[in-house]
């Protein structure tokens, strides 16, 4: 019997939470791709795309972060994972905010720092999504 008590399920994320979380990958990843395209072509429209993708990525991350903080406060056992999740999201928020300021510079003024920050954000978005979604709904020990 005692074995059964230690077993638990990770509840699936709310559908909206999951959608917003996974959405950060194409948004921040898209910003990175747009920055790479700008670096190769000097076509200034690419850096504009990167700016807007990053801005909407920030909106998504903001929503997910609120969700994550609420989950952290409500968690009783196993606080490590919710804590990691919230920290990575917070790091993504901060990096994305800096990236928004850097991308507000005109033309090549945003580079190369903007590209570096876009890469950091893209990686953090992947990590956050992995922590947030991996193993949900499966039996845990």
């Amino acid at each position: 019997m005692s074995v059964a008590v230690e077993r638990m399920y990770l509840r699936p994320l709310h559908a909206l939470h999951a959608a917003a979380l996974a959405g950060t990958i194409p948004l921040f990843g898209g910003a990175l791709l747009a920055d790479i395209a700008y670096a190769y072509t000097y076509q200034v429209q690419w850096t504009n795309f990167a700016s807007w993708l990053n801005a909407f990525g920030l909106v998504y991350v903001g929503l997910v972060l609120v969700w994550a903080l609420v989950a952290l406060l409500r968690s009783e056992r196993d606080r490590v994972r919710p804590m990691m999740y919230a920290l990575v999201l917070l790091a993504l928020c901060v990096a994305g905010f800096f990236n928004a300021l850097v991308h507000a510079r005109d033309a090549w003024g945003a580079m190369p720092l903007g590209l570096v920050l876009s890469a950091v954000c893209a990686v953090l978005a992947c990590v956050a999504t992995w922590i947030g979604l991996a193993g949900r709904g499966e039996l845990q020990r």
Binding site: S51, L90, D106, A107, G109
Partner: protein
């Protein structure tokens, strides 16, 4: 959690603060200090909030007096003296380029708070002082239905008006108070996007040509080079045929043009690029050489390369002309008029420059009309404050001077596009 939030806020504010003060070093004349560019995370903005003049008046030097000769106008920008002493005032607001980046949405809102809320006049108003007592008792609409008129010039029997999209012509006879009919088109002017929409204008001494200033379509090419075709240059337009050619290029926003009396040389007041720090890039006054290239976008103040522009163009940079006279960074010159001995001995030889004032540095600069003394046809000496006090001690803007015109009988006419007023400064006799 809260600790990490606090630390990131601290780190953020440290980054924002660690950028130094912006006390303006003297940046006037032929050899201004050109500091290293500063790239701050958050560009400085300090938009002076508007306030009414009430009983206050702009300050003028001792021995001069100032009066408002027209109020309640619809965004007066430039004025033109007609041979009989009448004054035409061009009123309007152009542009309206769409927001390109998230920051444009924010910046556009902030900048609009420092400007008048009045609807664009799109008209010329005629002011007349028939009895010469300094009171312009006639204030009447000369023509309306224009499109953000700015530059004006009179060549014999024709009045030319540079709308934001087209150069047009009216027949004019002395004493007229209302345009006889619809304008005739001379030539279309570049107007796509129209980020810098003002079309400054001056007529050559012989009346054959009109020079029109066409500002760039961006701060520093952020709308792409395709948007900069036929921008950031001065056109010379043949009045008879409408044929035009680029007369000088690389002038980011040549927002005031004037012909120097005597020599017939074209001079321009130019608004330079932003976001390189509070002390870059100096706006300037320069004689304009035919075929000359003045740097934008590749370089500033001669051959200082702007690394924000890609691809770069070292050949163009090598050919860039250093302007004649720096007015200071961010002062925003929008008016230029050469003086005359009737303005009084101290201000007889030189040029008046209307400086609308900064919005993107912490300590505001400009918000005044300065006099740049000339000697032997060249600028000589520091600018002298001629009309000031537009920015009050309380940090509020009561007005913003733009177009300046010298009345040969001895008066300076100043258009104020925030107070919607036309001021007249005269020596006390």
């Amino acid at each position: 959690m809260t600790r990490s939030v606090r630390w990131s806020v601290l780190a953020l504010s440290a980054l924002l603060v660690a950028c130094g003060s912006d006390a303006p070093p003297p940046q006037f004349g032929a050899d201004p200090a050109i500091p290293e560019p500063q790239r701050r995370l958050v560009p400085e903005m300090n938009i002076a909030k508007p306030a009414p003049w009430h009983e206050l008046r702009p300050t003028v030097p001792q021995g001069y007096t100032i009066s408002a000769i027209a109020t309640g106008l619809l965004i007066p920008r430039q004025t033109l003296l007609l041979p009989n002493g009448d004054i035409l005032v061009a009123e309007g607001r152009g542009g309206g380029a769409p927001a390109l980046l998230p920051k444009d949405v924010i910046a556009g809102f902030l900048i609009s708070r420092g400007s008048t809320k009045v609807e664009s006049g799109n008209r010329l108003t005629l002011l007349r002082d028939a009895d010469g007592d300094g009171v312009y008792e006639l204030n009447t609409v000369f023509v309306d239905g224009l499109n953000a008129p700015f530059g004006m010039a009179l060549i014999e029997g024709s009045l030319y008006v540079a709308n934001q999209d087209e150069l047009v012509r009216f027949a004019y006879s002395e004493g007229q108070t209302r345009a006889a009919g619809a304008p005739e088109s001379v030539v279309k002017l570049p107007s796509q996007i129209n980020h810098h929409w003002t079309k400054a204008m001056a007529a050559s001494l012989d009346g054959r040509y009109l020079y029109v200033g066409i500002g760039s379509n961006s701060n520093i090419t952020e709308r792409g080079m395709a948007a900069e075709v036929d921008r950031a240059m001065v056109w010379r337009i043949d009045v008879a045929s409408g044929a035009y050619k680029p007369y000088a290029t690389g002038l980011r926003n040549p927002s005031a043009l004037a012909i120097q009396p005597g020599t017939g040389t074209l001079w321009a007041a130019v608004n330079e690029r932003d976001e390189l720090g509070p002390n870059l890039t100096p706006d300037y006054l320069t004689s304009v050489r035919e075929g000359g290239f003045y740097g934008w976008p590749y370089s500033y103040w001669g051959q200082n390369v702007d690394t924000r522009v890609r691809p770069q163009d070292p050949e163009k940079v090598a050919s860039a002309i250093t302007p004649d006279y720096a007015l200071g960074s961010h002062v925003a010159p929008l008016g230029l008029g050469f003086s005359t001995p009737a303005m009084g001995a101290q201000f007889a030889d030189g040029a008046f420059v209307g400086q609308r004032g900064s919005w993107n540095r912490e300590q505001p600069v400009g918000y005044n009309v300065v006099f740049v003394p000339f000697n032997g046809g060249r600028p000589a000496g520091d600018p002298v404050n001629f009309v000031y006090g537009f920015l009050g001690e309380d940090g509020k803007a009561r007005g913003r001077p733009v177009g300046v015109t010298v009345d040969p009988r001895g008066a300076l006419i100043v258009a104020d596009d925030l107070a919607n007023t036309v001021w007249r400064v005269t020596p006390v006799r």
